[in-house]
């Protein structure tokens, strides 16, 4: 508790103090910055824009599906809408979301470093991301792409008449930004921890970032190779995926999912890291089972590379391969369950308060639990045969990706916003929007589980009329959800100018990032801190004192 005194001294208005935001001005000072915090903000603006692009596409899709015959667009356009929605949301929002924004901002701060190990590579990763995004968006507005985000051959290689190459090139390029971010984090976490910051004193967010980074650098090259082959096939017809000349269209799926299944964990592991921070801060407790939560991240990172075949149970893959991939898929569920139980147990005898970030965190646990449990249906071979390719799958992965990853991202953004900007946002509005998002999300995606078991296939521009009621429910939910996402956009922007100063530690949270002013100075810490305690070491009652 020695830090309290110094923290109080720092409680001076942000404007009168030099920090990373006012250290220099002008567009050049941003575009050429090597400050990890500014790069995080560059990423924040970019991915928010991409989220809006993907969100608009989703909203149009849901509007279209109000009518069985389609209310809005023709099938060609609908196919382009769901393709761009998937591609933008997966590769340009979810994958970079938490690592590139919160991760970039927080990894050095949480471990007591002044920056990441390779600041210039960090800036380069943003430029690579922007270049990739530009290719993809260019293709999207000049004709679009109709392959879905999965690019399955031979449709994508030989049959699609849309802009497959520019979009695939965009995704290919953006992959390198992930690799650079992962590389940076791994080296930073290994080499730049402050004195006393041992591995088992690291905040769990850092463990999650470390696990994510491993997948980044091991998995991303595979998607790059796969898309490169797809490009070669499409341009030169070399025949790798074309059965007419001895190629194998399923080879593409093996390669694609070898990256894209681990990529699911790229999207959810950082979210899990955020939740560990939020739950502890708002219940003023150490995390329950620190090492179990930390090692479960690593277990997920490793096993995630061995389960790709569960996307291919109905492709004609051998029964024995199906059995192996099924058992491994069940196995990867266990560490996730362990995390959920540990978060829940952390609340026990806590001192729990309910500001907006905590609402997001609790929402995450609930929705992630449902997303995880419905994953068991899809790992179960005989049931997956029925559910594969239906709306059940759509519902399941949106519970993980939106109910999980996006809720965690929103929670994290609300939690660290005062640190990032030095300002507070109106908590009542934030709690209200968290509630709107939770309700809207469930209304959108829960009916899709039922739709899926009833047999409605995904990616249908028109559908049999018996599915209309469920589709209308889902579309109604989507509009609620859209409102829920717009509200934070408004008050976040408002708070940057009008929000009251946050002070260094508005939540009374533990962690090195809270021991420096908000917004932090460019060098993060006036003096490199010396760590003498374990993570989340909140002062605690002796065991007997509380009934």
């Amino acid at each position: 508790m020695s830090s309290t005194a110094t923290v109080d001294n720092l409680e001076i208005p942000a404007e009168s103090r030099l920090n990373y935001l006012n250290a220099s001005y002008g567009i050049k000072s941003w575009l050429l910055t090597t400050d990890h915090k500014r790069i995080a903000l560059l990423y924040l603006v970019s991915i928010t824009f991409m989220f809006l692009v993907g969100g608009v596409a989703a909203t149009l899709m849901r509007l279209h599906l109000i009518e069985p015959q389609g209310a809005l667009v023709d099938p060609e356009t609908y196919n382009r809408l769901f393709s761009i929605h998937g591609i933008v949301m997966v590769f340009f929002f979810l994958v970079p979301s938490i690592p590139a924004t919160l991760g970039n901002f927080l990894v050095p701060m949480m471990i007591g470093a002044r920056d990441v190990a390779f600041p210039k590579l960090n800036l380069m990763s943003w430029y690579i991301y922007i270049t990739g995004a530009a290719f993809t968006l260019y293709a999207a507005v000049t004709g679009g792409v109709d392959t879905g985000w999965t690019f399955y051959t031979p449709f994508s290689s030989n049959y699609s008449h849309s802009a497959v190459i520019p979009v695939a090139l965009g995704v290919f390029i953006t992959g390198f930004s992930s690799i650079l971010t992962g590389l940076n984090f791994i080296v930073t976490i290994h080499k730049m921890r402050a004195p006393g910051m041992t591995w088992f004193r690291l905040p769990l967010f850092i463990w999650a970032m470390y696990a994510t980074s491993i997948i980044f650098i091991l998995g991303t090259p595979v998607i790059a190779i796969t898309l490169f082959l797809l490009g070669l096939e499409r341009l030169l017809h070399i025949g790798i995926f074309d059965p007419a000349v001895g190629g194998d269209p399923l080879l593409f799926q093996h390669l694609f999912w070898f990256y894209s299944h681990p990529a699911v964990y790229i999207m959810i592991l950082p979210g899990m890291g955020v939740i560990s921070e939020l739950i502890t801060a708002f219940s003023r407790k150490r995390i329950f089972g620190y090492s179990f939560v930390a090692f479960s991240s690593m277990a997920i990172a490793v096993i995630s590379f061995l389960v790709w075949g569960h996307h291919m149970f109905v492709t004609g893959q051998s029964v024995y391969a199906g059995l192996v991939f099924s058992v491994l898929s069940f196995l990867v569920a266990i560490p996730s369950a362990v995390k959920v139980f540990n978060w829940t147990a952390t609340l026990y005898k806590g001192s729990i308060s309910y500001q907006a970030p905590m609402l997001y965190a609790l929402g995450f646990i609930g929705l992630f639990t449902m997303g995880g449990l419905t994953g068991l249906f899809l790992a179960s071979l005989a049931v997956d045969v029925h559910l594969n390719g239906t709306y059940f799958v759509v519902a399941h992965f949106h519970y993980i990706m939106v109910g999980g990853a996006v809720m965690a991202y929103m929670g994290g953004l609300h939690f660290w916003w005062p640190k990032i900007t030095g300002r507070l946002y109106p908590d009542a509005w934030a709690r209200f929007s968290a509630l709107v998002i939770f309700v809207g999300f469930n209304l959108t995606f829960f009916p899709q589980f039922v739709m899926g078991y009833l047999g409605m296939p995904r990616r249908y521009a028109v559908y049999p009329p018996e599915f209309q009621v469920l589709n209308v429910m889902s579309s109604a939910g989507a509009s609620v959800l859209a409102v829920g996402y717009v509200i934070p956009l408004v008050y976040f922007i408002w708070s940057m100018r009008y929000g009251p100063p946050a002070g260094p530690n508005p939540w009374g949270a533990k962690g090195l990032e809270w021991e420096t002013p908000s917004p932090p100075p460019t060098e993060n810490f006036e003096e490199i801190p010396i760590v003498t305690e374990e993570a989340y070491n909140y002062p605690q009652l002796p065991e007997v004192a509380r009934g």
């Binding site: 196919n79 004609g316 069940f330 609340l347 790992a379 605690q540």
Partner: protein, 321 residues
């Protein structure tokens, strides 16, 4: 399960095949597991939220932060549950993927954006599939272009139709009626219009339907004509003295390939032998067969295979062929 299940018909499709109920039972069990754990987690969280809400600003938390027995409990119990589900689901899957010996074959060719279906008797259908009730039916399928997926929700069966190879699924319809089938693998512009109906009929109705269908000749007869047209018999003499192996009675027998691999002669092997002959050479024959890939379309390929299958069967022997 029965009562709860039937009380909510809007939550599941009709169960109209011999495997549907088995899949539904597992689905129901998984739903119960999901409800139980969701209620457990939500309930515990809500209880803790109220019980341990912060009452004073300077309040301190209590409680343990580690407990090995608990960690083991909530690792081992979910693992055991997963093992049970895995075994159950795999048992069903293995059983559901083996067609009964006596199943009747129907051929399905997917193409952008329609399903072309052909019965061995030669009756062709588009986006409609007529089958007899209580008879095991094996669907052998392929695709003429991209990957499609043949999906009948009421039967709980689904399988990709892949270009360049055969895949199969089987079902035994148990309820007379009309059911949807869909393409469940995205295949381009009119993917969502690549749907149709399965008509499950009484055997007598089915026989009448077959008889009244617009057939010209059986698939095997059509195949025989192709066999003649392409002069296959020049080498494939029926007494085995030709430059190629005799095809009489070949189907369903294990054959040792030049590579040392032993494979049962099935539709996939015959397809490969016609398209890329040298990839499945038999050891005692020279590599002189040309590839017919590109010359014979998917439908003709199926007809040829039907003809080769019929060689050596009792029916064809007695008719003097």
């Amino acid at each position: 399960m029965g009562a709860v299940w039937t009380a909510f018909p809007e939550l599941h499709p009709p169960a109209a095949s011999s495997i549907a109920q088995g899949v539904d039972k597992l689905y129901f069990f998984l739903t119960l597991i999901t409800l139980f754990f969701t209620a457990l987690i939500f309930g515990t969280i809500f209880y803790f939220m109220i019980r341990y809400r912060r009452r004073k600003e300077d309040e301190l938390a209590g409680g343990p932060h580690e407990h090995l027995p608990l960690e083991l409990t909530w690792t081992i119990i979910p693992t055991l549950i997963c093992v049970v589900i895995f075994i159950w689901a795999s048992f069903l899957y293995v059983r559901n993927s083996r067609p009964p010996k006596a199943s009747m074959d129907i051929f399905v060719i997917g193409k952008q954006w329609m399903w072309h279906i052909e019965h061995p008797e030669g009756v062709r259908e588009i986006n409609e599939l007529h089958v007899p009730v209580n008879t095991p039916v094996r669907i052998i399928m392929t695709s003429q272009d991209v990957i499609h997926d043949f999906y009948i929700p009421a039967f709980r069966v689904k399988k990709d139709a892949l270009p360049g190879r055969y895949t199969s699924l089987w079902f035994e319809a148990t309820e007379v009626g009309t059911y949807h089938f869909y393409c469940a693998q995205y295949c381009g512009t009119d993917h969502s219009k690549m749907i149709g109906w399965v008509y499950v009929m009484n055997p007598t109705d089915y026989a009448a339907w077959l008889a009244g269908g617009s057939k010209t000749e059986s698939m095997a007869d059509a195949g025989e004509k192709l066999f003649t047209r392409y002069a296959c018999a020049t080498c494939h003499l029926s007494d085995g003295s030709g430059r190629g192996p005799s095809l009489v009675g070949l189907f369903g027998k294990p054959e040792k390939l030049l590579t040392g691999e032993s494979r049962v002669v099935d539709e996939s092997l015959l397809r490969q032998a016609i398209s890329v002959p040298n990839s499945v050479r038999l050891s005692n024959f020279p590599p002189i067969m040309p590839s017919y890939q590109g010359q014979i379309n998917e439908e003709q390929l199926l007809q040829l295979i039907s003809y080769i299958k019929s060689l050596g069967s009792e029916e064809r022997k007695t008719s003097g062929k």
